[in-house]
């Protein structure tokens, strides 16, 4: 129905290869001992999608529990303790097992070396190790459910987590500790890869913007995660031995825990959103058939977001008992975030201006991202402003805000990126018509679920509430109906993506007319990525006629 695909001439000299990374050495042993970044990327993809599904099902269950104030589903009543475990698991699984590892572990692992024209990441064995560390962390997280789950909220605030909760806090925090190491090693690998494995001729400002975004992410992973790691070790020891560092009963300071926690977890928000922005920076020029506007501005804004992310953690604690001076300073610094975020959005919009926009499914997700991120970002202003934050913090307004950023923005970008690189990863095209329907449903469902939560929050509905006042019931009901649309669109996406795998490889090398190096190899790529070492001779995203380098010679 669309002139979508094949709008640019196809590179003809890599017909679907007989041997590629998927069908060479296919024994189970070959897979579990692989050091190929593409295979590790795929394994990460399966892992993180699995936890996306688990976290998503928990979310659907949560919304179902909140549908009516009676909390009865088909005759089964979920009690307050069950509800508290549900939202904690939902949060912890989504943050630590899905969003943080998803884009870096799966998509980036797969495409970053390809984009740089490299044969692999800098440390392939370390890459595999970091995957297995992720698996160990995931097993620990799942086993914590068996040992009584956890009911502290994903933020593990002391002293509730250290002395009041009787759930398996130590197991879960140690799981997050382990997952943190996986994240650090992934970041470390990308930093070294970006520094040293760029193709001949590729300077820093010739890298695709995706790489810039992931480089910034990797820097945060390396610098912020160790602080979380040590904090969680301290928490686990506090829980077990009462060492008196966070627990006031033994002389500790609960606010110190929050400082430590947010010193990591605020940058972690950028570990989540920067990869999303990185993907959007690829999708928009590719589908607008136009060079990215303000390449350097976007690259610098990624780096500056990474830096600013380290000095704004206190905005999570305006009413939490930090000093008043700190609160004022953190509020002022928080507004700095608006500038690089705005720069990115305006540059993306200008890129679309006078473009030749192909509304393929990845681009639909990119457009959804722009709108959802706008809402997520703008509602952040309410929370960064001191006097309104007093009223809004710890309410559903915050819940809605961070879902717009983490889910509405990052996950939308992730799904968009998954569609964009799916032909490259699997060698198959998916059903484009279904993909477009799913994208539209996702957008509608998302807004239906989370817009009402802004209203509930500003009207005074606190978060993490099992019981609520009757006046909020219509909003909760609306939100629950929205969640069904989201669920439906995601299962639909899963179905047609899996269905595409049943076909033989049919994807061309460059189905979208992309200009970055990953499109110059076959789909799926051969084991060593490129037949010949690619050399970069032009800036990325050059769509001038005769400049695309895509003509067959």
């Amino acid at each position: 129905m669309e002139p979508v695909l094949h709008s640019a001439p196809q590179v003809g000299h890599h017909p679907a290869p007989g041997k590629h990374y998927l069908n060479e050495n296919t024994s189970l042993w070959d897979w579990i001992t692989t050091v190929d970044h593409k295979r590790i990327g795929l394994m990460y993809l399966v892992g993180s999608l699995f936890f996306f599904m688990i976290g998503g099902l928990l979310a659907l269950l949560l919304r179902l529990v909140l549908l009516t104030p009676q909390h009865t589903l088909f005759g089964i009543t979920v009690d307050a303790e069950g509800y508290n475990r549900l939202f904690t698991l939902h949060g912890a699984i989504m943050v630590f097992l899905f969003i943080i590892p998803s884009i870096p572990g799966s998509l980036t692992n797969f495409v970053l070396p390809l984009m740089l024209g490299a044969k692999d990441v800098a440390f392939p064995k370390l890459n595999l190790a970091s995957f297995y560390i992720y698996v160990v962390g995931a097993i620990m997280a799942v086993s914590s459910i068996y040992f009584g789950a956890i009911d502290t909220g994903w933020t593990f605030y002391t002293p509730y987590s250290s002395s009041s909760s009787s759930t398996s806090v130590a197991m879960m925090t140690m799981s997050v500790f382990v997952l943190g190491f996986s994240s650090i090693l992934t970041g470390l690998n990308f930093v070294a890869t970006v520094h040293k494995l760029r193709a001949p001729g590729m300077g820093w400002f010739d890298m695709p913007l995706f790489v810039w975004g992931m480089y910034s992410t990797a820097v945060i992973q390396i610098l912020a995660t160790p602080v979380l790691a040590i904090t969680l070790v301290l928490l686990a020891i506090e829980k077990t031995f009462h060492i008196g560092i966070f627990d006031p009963k033994y002389g500790g300071d609960p606010v110190l825990f929050q400082h430590f926690f947010w010193f990591y977890s605020h940058p972690a928000v950028y570990i989540m959103i920067l990869p999303g922005m990185a993907i959007i920076s690829e999708l928009i020029p590719t589908f607008s058939k136009k060079t990215i506007f303000g390449y350097r501005a976007i690259a610098y804004s990624s780096v500056s977001l990474a830096l600013v992310s380290f000095i704004v953690w206190g905005h999570h604690m305006f009413v939490a008992g930090q000093s008043q001076l700190a609160t004022v300073v953190f509020s002022a610094l928080t507004f700095l975030v608006a500038i690089p975020s705005g720069v990115k959005v305006f540059n993306w919009l200008t890129t679309m201006y006078k473009g030749n926009i192909v509304l393929a499914s990845p681009m639909l997700y990119a457009l959804a991202f722009l709108i959802l991120f706008a809402i997520g970002g703008l509602t952040g202003i309410f929370l960064g402003t001191l006097s309104t934050d007093i009223h809004l913090t710890d309410t559903y307004f915050v819940v809605a805000h961070f879902h717009y950023v983490m889910m509405g923005s990052t996950v939308t970008a992730f799904i968009g990126g998954l569609h964009y690189w799916w032909p490259k990863m699997t060698g198959r095209m998916y059903n484009e018509k279904l993909a477009k329907i799913a994208a539209v449903l996702w957008f509608i469902g998302f807004n239906a679920t989370f817009l009402p939560q802004f209203i509930m929050g500003s009207q005074g509905m606190p978060r993490r509430y099992y019981n609520y006042l009757d006046q909020f019931q219509p909003f909760h009901a609306f939100s629950t109906f929205g969640s069904w649309i989201i669920g439906f669109s995601l299962f639909m996406t899963l179905a047609y993506l899996l269905a595409s795998l049943r076909k033989p490889c049919d994807a061309p090398d460059d189905p979208w007319g992309g200009s970055t190096l990953e499109w110059r190899t076959s789909s799926p790529p051969i084991t060593h990525n490129f037949h010949d070492q690619p050399v970069l001779e032009r800036e990325p995203y050059d769509y001038r006629p005769g400049q695309s380098g895509r003509e067959t010679h």
């Binding site: 979508v4 607008s288 201006y353 960064g384 309104t388 007093i390």
Partner: protein, 322 residues
């Protein structure tokens, strides 16, 4: 309350009723940002949709090679920066008021614990989950927690602050609207986090004085109707008894009240006894003197928390639960 569609457009419907002047100031900032956000949202969304439609793919269209424009970059960096500086100071203005209580405030000492709020008035009398204050006088709540983090949130006053064990935190407000306002706990504190709420009653000076003397005008109504059990039922909900004692026979943290009256109980110290009115009173004031077998000695004392007529009401209420 009902909101018209217009209220949603203007942002008014986003906010709960206002209970103080401060609430009005916060709302002004909220509505200001709300409108700013709407304008910026349209500034992003309209081009997004328009470009996607206007520049929809057409075979053979050549796109211009626009790499950057420094003037534009500066404009859309500096523009937001100026807006942000303005917003920061606008928000700071409200914060300064929130952070410092007037010297002549009436001080109420608040203790949060799982899962109830206890208020101690200047005269030493105490209430649970039920805060009464006189209208148009600044009230300062000095708060601490006995166990984990809590957060006292009064939506109608637009104030909240974390309540932290081992520390004191403070909020204040000058209520200017009579009547009940709800307050809740806004920092997750465990199982009954969502049940940790109560009513802030703003009343006239005369009513407040009467409340301090007797426990309020409500009491007189019950007394006049001679409805002791009804009065007890109100205390059951208001004093937080319901967080541990059921009235339908199910066992919770404490024994159920259903069929409790005149029951022969055995205690953890090995003795037995009849649960009569005297025993019930003892259980409220010295709860750990006789603990029913199978339960933990975890009930806090209600000495000083219950007025005599409230104890009498509770006894009557328990007696009524056959």
């Amino acid at each position: 309350m009902e909101h018209s569609f217009i209220d949603y457009i203007t942002g008014q419907a986003m906010l709960p009723p206002r209970g103080s002047e401060f609430a009005g100031e916060v709302d002004l900032v909220f509505i200001g940002i709300y409108w700013l956000s709407i304008i910026l949202f349209l500034a992003i969304t309209i081009p997004t949709v328009y470009f996607a439609w206007r520049y929809k793919f057409k075979a053979g269209r050549v796109t211009p090679h626009q790499t950057h424009n420094t003037t534009l970059e500066i404009m859309w960096s500096v523009g937001p920066l100026i807006i942000c500086v303005g917003l920061f100071f606008w928000g700071l203005d409200g914060w300064m008021k929130y952070a410092v209580a007037p010297g002549d405030s009436m001080e109420v000492v608040v203790t949060g614990k799982q899962w109830l709020w206890q208020f101690e008035y200047p005269d030493g009398s105490r209430t649970v989950n039920d805060l009464h204050v006189p209208i148009n006088k600044p009230v300062k709540l000095t708060m601490t927690s006995e166990d984990v983090l809590h957060d006292l949130f009064v939506p109608d006053m637009r104030v909240k602050v974390d309540v932290i064990p081992g520390r004191y935190s403070m909020i204040w407000f000058t209520p200017n609207v009579l009547g009940p306002h709800t307050f809740t706990c806004a920092e997750y504190c465990g199982k009954d986090h969502s049940g940790m709420k109560g009513t802030l009653t703003v009343e006239s000076d005369a009513d407040f004085a009467k409340f301090m003397a007797t426990g309020g005008t409500e009491w007189e109504e019950y007394r006049d109707r001679n409805d002791w059990a009804g009065w007890g039922k109100l205390q059951y909900e208001r004093k937080g008894c319901n967080s541990c004692h059921s009235v339908d026979g199910t066992s919770s943290k404490g024994p159920t009240w259903k069929g409790l009256f005149s029951k022969n109980e055995s205690f953890t110290d090995g003795s037995t006894g009849i649960a009569d009115a005297k025993y019930l009173e003892q259980s409220m004031l010295q709860p750990n003197a006789k603990v029913v077998k199978g339960f933990e000695p975890i009930m806090p004392t209600f000495q000083g928390l219950l007025r005599n007529h409230e104890i009498k009401g509770l006894q009557a209420y328990i007696e009524s639960l056959k």
